[in-house]
């Protein structure tokens, strides 16, 4: 990072500010712009400054797949694979890179919890961060694109080791966000559930409902 130039620190009345000095000042401003890393939320408040929030969760030293961090209402998830394929978040690859490996203009996508009072926690204060598999209910094959997506879900139904199929989708939990039942004015704490990449298979039997089988 370039230091503040001497002409600026020692500016005196009568000095001429040339266009290259303005450009240098602009470059200094850009260099000092704050950018949030994973798990860091920056909130710019006019007249106050920038508030830095960071959640130092246990697990930082183990960069496993699906590592979930909540900062404010934003839930960021480390990339994980299902059937060697990368899920999407809101239509964008969850690693924030395009097909050529370049960063997406919008950055790494996150899940937005929204306002705490409107967030989809269940009656017990549970909300799961899930990888959702989508299949064609008729054929049982994975949908074309995207077959796997990260979602927030308040449903978790199991049958014989698989998650129940609901209209061609099955949600497998990778993390839990839990808040006390009565504290509906804030978001909950994140607990990690899944630490490894996953495999998925759609199971249909004659005598029982369809299931999505996930395994490591």
């Amino acid at each position: 990072m370039r230091p503040v130039p001497a002409w600026m620190r020692n500016a005196a009345t009568g000095d001429v500010i040339r266009s290259d000095m303005f450009q240098e000042t602009a470059a200094l401003l850009i260099e000092r712009k704050l950018l949030p890393g994973r798990g860091v939320l920056l909130t710019e408040v006019p007249g106050v400054g920038t508030v830095v929030e960071a959640e130092a969760v246990a697990g930082s030293a183990f960069p496993h797949p699906w590592r979930t961090v909540r900062t404010g209402a934003a839930v960021s998830i480390s990339p994980g694979l299902v059937n060697t394929r990368l899920p999407v978040i809101g239509g964008a690859p969850m690693d924030g890179l395009d097909e050529e490996g370049e960063p997406l203009p919008q950055g790494v996508p996150v899940l937005d919890l929204g306002d705490p009072s409107d967030a989809p926690y269940d009656e017990n204060g549970y909300l799961w961060v899930c990888v959702r598999a989508a299949v064609d209910p008729e054929t049982g094959t994975l949908r074309e694109e995207p077959p796997f997506e990260m979602v927030l879900s308040d449903r978790l139904s199991w049958l014989d080791g698989g998650v129940l199929d609901i209209e061609g989708t099955g949600d497998y939990p990778v993390a839990l966000i839990r808040r006390p039942r009565k504290q509906k004015d804030r978001h909950g704490r994140v607990f990690q559930i899944c630490h490894f990449n996953l495999n998925h298979r759609f199971a249909r039997d004659v005598d029982r409902p369809a299931r999505h089988i996930f395994w490591v």
């Binding site: 503040v4 500016a11 950018l35 890393g37 130092a56 930082s60 199991w158 029982r208 490591v216």
Partner: protein, 338 residues
Amino acid sequence: MMAAPNMRTAAGWRAAGDILGRAALAPGRTSEVTRSRAGQKVDLRPEAREWRHPWSMRPQWNGLTERWEAVVVKPGFVNGWPATVPGMEDADGETATLCDFPAVPLRGLRRGLSQESGEVTAFFTARGVRETAEEPGITAMGTLAATVETLDTNPLPPRQLAACDFYLATARPTFQPSITQVDPLGVSGLTVDYAVIYDFAMVDLHGVRSRWQQAPRFVPNRRPTFAERLLGIVGDEGEDRINIATVFLLSPPDAPEESEPDAEWSAWVQYHCFWNLRYEVRNTAPRQAPPPLRLFTGLAFGLGDAIGNQMLSGVNELSTQVFNAAATTSPEGHYVTT
């Protein structure tokens, strides 16, 4: 927050230079700063905190209640749900889960640990623990108190060792076979009706979520044999268990043999499971009870069938039916890591 500098004056430019100089971020103890042309990125330092696996426990001495207790500092999950802790309540008065970090008292510690059982390892003998050469309780009962004298070669002052286990238990339906013999003494053959009745008593009592339990010694599930399963001789326990961790309490040197653990003891945890789990039951109860299976053994209590080769295929088919019936009426489950 100071006002924006007036850039029409030299003082304003100097103030701007001061602001820009202070805007350079410096990393703290748990953060790191990456600089690029785009700006300064603030990140958490990866090694900011030690990673702990699910079910990580911290035994601690509670000075108020004067007892040892254990807190799971990294809650474990089964099927995406945190294990419940029966007997403990959360802030809302409901049954606590491991996400509430309840301190579970260590009740009913087992003593008399032996090397043969694998519990008194070199880790503990190097700290002065002696193995117990006799089963505890025999002397107390006054019968055949065969004390085995062994040569004590450990130069360290003796220390006592106590332990208990933490395990998970998950309730599930059980089944009770209903066997009805039709014409049991008829020489023309023996007909058996084999029906299955499912019982949800344990599920109704405990729910389907896994429970965090503590006991002096973990008792694994008893797996009934095929014949027992078919005939319903042994009652199903209605739950599956898995041992998660053993907490050892180590006394200070020269502590009396039966002394109770206090603040001077130290705790060690041996883990048997390091990851979250998924629980699968082998067969769930069908939504509609299946029709009873009727078995006809043939002539002379089945003896005639074995003699008659032409009936052999029928006997094989019968066996297959029996095996299938037992396989689909065995609801014991198992745990797999996720």
